[in-house]
Symmetry: C2
Subunit: 447 residues, 2 copies
């Protein structure tokens, strides 16, 4: 019986195990990992904000899942890989494998700021983090959240929900800076501020102040009071396990389109690995839960003897910011500029249902086309509903390289209580199409 060993049981590892089982039912599968529970880190801000009522709602005991699926679970830390002998070492034993999947995930990073070692400073990445923050919230009045990514924004919203005065600090010129154009970022930041969260941005933290416990955060000379601080300053790939092996890394474990590393029979998936962007052909990090699941699936199939190709990640994502849904996929204007691609942007404002139907809410679609070949290369959607469906359509459209002409002719469904008769994606494509036509006419006239 062939042996598959998987290191780490997060989204990637667990999905890989189940996919491998379905691919080769006689495979002997072992998961090795330290965590007692399986859960999505994305759920943690909502547990903190008490939108989700307790950890038992999001966490399943790992041993139970493995038992139900006839997978061996060893709750120990994996220490080293011997790729020649094809064995994995934990502290107490050596585990042989025919194929190995590394899905060790990532870890939250705290930048080297003076005072970062004070009490009441937390990351928000594991269940234990939420437990600690929960304790600190009792009696706290003010909080600073450092880092304006999805977890930072959701963490700030959670603390606000718990009654604290919250300031969100972002070193770059905008929160969610990497993921949207400035037009949409203005809308996003206005929403956050309108809900009573202060934003301080474009400035780095000089020092975290306090005596034992944090008291304030100093940004560009100004002290922001803080009884507690959440450092949502990013996640890095956990790749300590592959140190000293021949497995190639570039910040994360490099894998090919079968998610195999440079060592035959050793695969990697999820936050610890990196694949090439289908838009640029370059290694591009994606620390999304969906990427972990999608990669886990492919790695599981291949490690079990199947053959599946991973086409890469467009970083399709959605974040709920109070009642606003913001989603995106592919390139932003800035990404395109960095690749030297001239873009034509199409926009449309429409509604979540027929405009006249009670409860209809605004939604805005923005599409980015490569001016040279008229292909869709990116999209952003903001609205008070219906954003997930639009991003899922646009992720498929980008991945299939749809042209602006094809998007103007998209088929879609309609009924007044659920969707308008004119589709926002189609209207945004029409807007871009007219711009492209005008550009072509102008080029014709001047040539």
């Amino acid at each position: 019986m062939k042996k598959l060993v998987i290191v780490g049981g997060g989204g990637a590892g667990l999905t890989a195990a189940l996919a491998a089982k379905k691919t080769a039912s006689d495979l002997d599968i072992t998961i090795i990992g330290c965590e007692e529970f399986s859960y999505s880190p994305c759920a943690l801000p909502f547990v903190l904000g008490k939108e989700i009522d307790g950890f038992d709602k999001i966490a399943t005991r790992f041993s139970d899942i493995c038992k139900a699926n006839k997978i061996t679970f060893i709750q120990e830390e994996a220490v080293s890989i011997d790729e020649k002998k094809k064995t994995l070492r934990t502290k107490s034993r050596e585990v042989p494998f025919d194929s190995l999947i590394i899905s060790t995930g990532g870890y939250a990073v705290i930048p080297p700021i003076k005072g970062a070692n004070l009490q009441n400073i937390y990351t928000l990445y594991r269940i234990s983090d939420v437990e600690k923050i929960n304790n600190a919230v009792k009696g706290a009045k003010t909080a600073v959240v450092v880092g304006g990514g999805a977890i930072g924004i959701e963490g700030a919203a959670a603390l606000k929900h718990l009654g604290l005065k919250v300031t969100l600090v972002e070193g770059l010129e905008y929160v969610l800076c990497r993921f949207f154009g400035t037009d949409f970022l203005d809308v996003i930041e206005n929403k956050i501020k309108s809900e009573g969260i202060d934003i301080v941005k474009g400035k780095n933290i000089e020092e975290i102040l306090g005596d034992k416990k944090v008291r304030a955060v100093r940004v560009a000379g100004t002290e922001i009071p803080a009884d507690l601080v959440i450092m949502a300053t990013g996640v890095r790939s956990s790749i300590k396990l592959v140190e000293g092996t021949g497995i190639e890394v570039a910040g994360a474990i490099k894998v090919d389109e079968r998610l195999e590393t440079n060592i035959k029979g050793i695969y990697a998936a999820g936050d610890c690995s990196v694949t090439k962007s289908p838009l640029t052909g370059k290694y591009t990090p994606s620390l999304l839960g969906t990427t972990a699941v999608r990669e886990g699936n492919i790695a599981g199939i291949n490690a079990a003897g199947g053959n599946a190709i991973f086409e890469g990640v467009l970083n399709a994502m959605v974040v709920k910011i109070f009642d606003l849904e913001v989603g995106r996929v592919g390139f932003t204007e800035k990404d395109a500029a960095a690749e030297g691609i001239e873009v034509v942007v199409g926009k449309a404002k429409t509604f979540t249902k027929a405009e006249y139907f009670p409860g209809a809410k605004p939604i805005e679609v923005k599409l980015l086309f490569n001016a040279a070949n008229e292909q869709l290369i990116g999209a952003e959607v903001i609205g008070e509903g219906g954003v997930v469906g639009k991003i899922d359509v646009l992720a498929l459209a980008v991945s299939k390289k749809l042209s602006v002409g094809e998007l103007t002719k998209l088929e879609y469904c309609y009924t007044p209580p659920l969707a308008p008769s004119h589709n926002g994606i189609v209207q945004a494509a029409e807007n871009a199409h007219r711009k492209i036509m005008r550009l072509k006419e102008r080029a014709k006239r001047t040539s």
Copy 2:
């Protein structure tokens, strides 16, 4: 200045006028039609059920729209076309055209049932119908709705909402019979019944009984009491205008992929016309509002001198049945069987958000693949939310002939409050993929 004349100002005609204007801003556009208002007939059941508060919410005065867009509006009935002279006649005048778009829409049909001429029997297709039904509802206690299509179901729900005891009568073996497989139809009918609407099906109406006013409907020997009856028994294309011309019809006006009729310069769009299905290559009726809008757009561009191709209709649609959303696109099992195509079905039950998130509701995805080439040819989705987005993705997937393998690797977005980490379309594709793999192995073993 070239003259474009459009007959009929519904979804197709109005969209065509605006698209033509954008294509050639110097075009002289005239719309000829009898209706005073522009509105979506799909909204009428919701006005009847008072979910939408009055007609002024859904209707815009036609003359106002035309004035705002510099379009001439002649509120008269078009009587005949002289395709040689390139003129259109109304009762009072002859209007010359360079190009013509026929978008005369459809009309509600009442089958020749004995007693169908009694008082308090209505169709539900125009604003005037709703006004009449509204009057009849006063003092009424019971109603029968004949026809289990979308309008029939929505009409029945509206009357139920107004406090009447409602029976829905469908001659075929299921309501919405043409659009879903029997597995999903059972769910749909159970929902309708659980909301207190009786369904009588698989039996034809023998007679409508009453003395002047309707009193009951007799179906297979049983009398169903009815103070009023809605006949939602279908819509036929309005093609009287083209009688006596050389324009080819097949129940509706036949058009090519540019939506031009067999007469050069004369186009047709919307309910009055018929195009070929991209799945079968055969003329296939589609009486959807989305089709009218999509066709109007293409016809408008082409009639204004542009060149756009219509790829056909997959009949993507969604219906809201109380809190249940039911959507579909492409082939059903029955459609595939009629074309001699063997299908493999994949199914997955999932949730509208992360399973553990408060308010997560069930959603089920069903995918139909052609067993021979593994391409997606149809899909059905039922859920208490999120169905529109899934159908829109699947409409694109069917139109781009995606394979089961491609669908297992779909990129999508995720955040616990809005969407689960495992996507229902991907899971249903995985389910079908495993079935296809097993079929292949079996074929290998027996060959």
